[in-house]
Amino acid sequence: MSAALATSRSFRDPDATLIEHDGRLIRAVRGHALAAFRRMLAHPVVCRWMDDGRLVRTRPVLPVEVPPQLAGFEGECFEHERIPFVSQPSEWAPEMLAAAGSLTLQLAAELLPRGLELKDATPANILFRDAEPVFVDLPSIVERRPGNRLWVARHQFETTFLLPLIAAAEAGLPVAWTLQNPVAGLSHEALARILGARRWLKPGLWRPVALPAALAAKAAGGAAASTLAPVSEAQAVFTLERGLKALQAQVDKRISAMAKRSSHWRRYTSARAHYGSADLEAKRRFVAEAVAGTKPRRTLDIGANTGEFSEIAATEGEVVALDIDERSVAAIWERAREKRLPILPLVGNFGRPTPALGWRNRELESLLGRAAEGFDLVLMLAVVHHLRVTEGVPVAEQFDAVAGITRRHLLVEYVPVTDPMFAAIARGREPLYGDCQRPEFEATLLRRFQVERKHELPNGRVLYLARRRAG
């Protein structure tokens, strides 16, 4: 294995690997899989999916364009379009996971009558371009054995899409917990234990959870068959289509169950007692003017809440909206998708950012690694005090971290120690947070940033538009 392949982002697939070179994403397909890959790439259904953006756009790389580290590679290279921000499945709201699962099932269903199939079905094959899922793992599309009526990837679909959705709908488990490993997901046995007797009391849980878990335990000792005798192609397609439709129905059922849930944060905007209408209007105006003045091509909104300020930033460019609450992220995602806004909402806690995961911690990059120097503007609206009090991160540390993310501007809101929201989370420990006093806060900000504009709201909060200092 060459050095290039040893440091590849995707090395598990024996047919192909993915490397990054000079900001380009190169898929290197090995010789033995090349003919089938070329046939797949030229297939009309694949071309159609690429044209409408549901499949990552891919082109062959000319020999002169091949990166030097792949010079001796026995195969051929293809270049993928770059998706603006790479998200991890553990950062998605359940609704986003369902959309990714539906896309996988739609693709599998379209491939089916054309003699193709997906050899794996995991959220790791999907990224989000703004609010829309995109299937990015082209080598997963392979030719199907005629007459085969079993989908080899079905188990993986269940453990990585369906079971995390059931865990979210039935037990309120966050996707961040169940999809730490997006390739293995949540096993039937683990979910059966979490649900306990409920898996037998609700008939809707028999097929997806109770029976597979019970049968797995009974059959684990013996050698299990994994093939069936081939049948006519018409029967195979009929059988597989039924299976895909049943999976889609299971996914849809969980989404409608989750739609009934609500959360504290989704009610937050309608019950912001600490914000009078004049304060809120002034805040909106300041943010809108800052966005219009700085024209950020890319914005990171930390603590996006319901995403109203992300939407303002989206008038100038792409936005990544980060919030700790799944329900808030789901609400932003639904609105962004409906209005076709360039917003990618993600579940995340900036105080404990997603770590690097996978083999040698190289397969999935950490949140800070993916965000480094990647944004023109970072919004920190009413979030610094949360990170200071709830997560215990000193203000100076926060500004240091943000200075590594924004290339230009930071828009930060100062919340005084006397503010009711500060008091609600500090609960009498206000003296511990000396760096949240306004003079200390401003002095800390000025170490890393230069204040360009400042506006004090009637409620005592202060908005700062600041530019990162060089070095």
């Binding site: 030229a42 009309p44 259904v45 071309c47 159609r48 089916l112 009558p113 054309r114 009526r149 079993l150 989908w151 079905r154 188990h155 993986q156 269940e158 453990t159 293995a184 096993s187 039937h188 046995e189 059966a192 234990r193 037998w200 097929r207 109770a210 029976l211 597979p212 878990a213 019970a214 049968l215 797995a216 335990a217 009974k218 059959a219 684990a220 299990a224 068959a225 994994s226 069936l228 049948v231 192609e233 018409a234 029967q235 397609v237 009929f238 059988t239 039924r242 299976g243 049943a246």
Partner: protein, 81 residues
């Protein structure tokens, strides 16, 4: 007869009720695969009777029998470019 059926049902329920320890390193997808196979068998039966019904209907119909499946013919939108 009834007590026998009841006993069998109880035995099945008790047998399936627990979650034993399935060794993930052996085959984490065994239960799922078995169910998929059962589903394939059921779908096979449905397919057989559907085909049979179509044949019977075609015997009494003047119209030519429909193509067995859409996928057997060129799928719309699949024209090579």
């Amino acid at each position: 007869m009834k007590p026998l059926i009841r006993k069998l049902a109880c035995a099945c329920a008790i047998s399936l009720a627990g979650v034993g320890t399935a060794a993930a390193y052996i085959d984490p997808g065994t239960g799922s695969m078995l169910l998929q196979m059962m589903g394939a068998a059921v779908a096979g039966a449905i397919f057989y009777f559907r085909e049979l019904r179509m044949k019977v209907v075609s015997l009494f119909s003047r119209r030519p029998p429909p193509a067995a499946r859409e996928g057997d013919e060129a799928t719309p939108g699949d024209e090579p470019r």
